[in-house]
Assembly symmetry: C2
Homo-oligomer: 119 residues x 2
Amino acid sequence: MRIGELARRTGVSERSLRYYEQQGMLTAERTPGGHREYPEAAVDRVIRIQELFAAGLCSEKIVQLLPCMRDTDGGPSARATPSLVAELTAERARIDRMIADLVRSRDTLDEVIEAARLP
Amino acid sequence: MRIGELARRTGVSERSLRYYEQQGMLTAERTPGGHREYPEAAVDRVIRIQELFAAGLCSEKIVQLLPCMRDTDGGPSARATPSLVAELTAERARIDRMIADLVRSRDTLDEVIEAARLP
DNA sequence: CTTGAATCTGACATGCGTGTCAGGTTCTAG
DNA sequence: CTAGAACCTGACACGCATGTCAGATTCAAG
C-alpha cells in the first residue's frame, strides 16, 4: 500500500511516517518512480511505534528494539544484547512509574468530576 | 520554606517552580526582600502538578483543575463548572487510553527481555 | 495526451516544559 | 560588617516528534 493509505489506516500523518523511515524504524519498497510501497505488516509496526513513543521511548531506542520484536511477519530477527536488555529494563521500570502516576491522576480527576456531580 | 528546599523535597527544579507560579498553578508569600516563602502544603501540590503534567494535561487545564481539588489544607475551594467537567471527562478517557498503551508497551518490552534471557 | 490527485524532497516552524546563563539583590553565619 | 550561599528577574536555547509550505515529479483515470 502507499503512504496515504497507511496514514489513514494508522491515524499517523504522512509526515511522521517519512520521519520514521528516516530514523530507520520503518522501511518501504519503492516504485520505479520513487513512491513508497508498504507491506501489510507496516500497519502493525506503525501502531507499535506509536505506542512506544507514547511510552516515552525515543527513536533511537525504538530502532534498537524493533528488530528484537516478534513482528506480524515472523519471529524476531535479532536478539537483544545485554546492554540493550539493561536499558529496556530501566525503561520498563520507568513505564511502571508512569502507569502509577497516571492512575493517581485519573483518581484525582474522578474525585473532581464526582464532587461536581453531587449536591 | 524557601524555593531551594521545596525543589529538593519535590525533585522539581527551581526553574520549574517559578514557571508554575508564573502560570498560576502555585502561589507563594514573599519575604520583605522578595524571596518566595512556601507553606508546607506546597510539597503535595507540586507533586500533584507533576503527576498531572505526566498525564498529559497542559498548564491551562491544571490551573482550572487545582482549585477544585481536595488539597492538603482543607477541602476544595471551587466546584468544577459543567464545561470543565466535560473537558476533564475527555482527559480521563485519554488517560485510560494512555494506560492501555503503556501496558502494551510494557508487555512488548517484557517479551524482548524474556527472549534475550532464554537460550 | 491530459489532468487532477497523490507523492516526493527539503527546509523552516511550533509547542511547552525545562535548562542555563547573566547580572543583581537578599539572607545568614561568623 | 563581611563573605558566601541562596534567591531574584529576564532572556535565550533545547528536545524532538510533528505541522506546514514550496516546488517538482509520479501515478492513474478519462
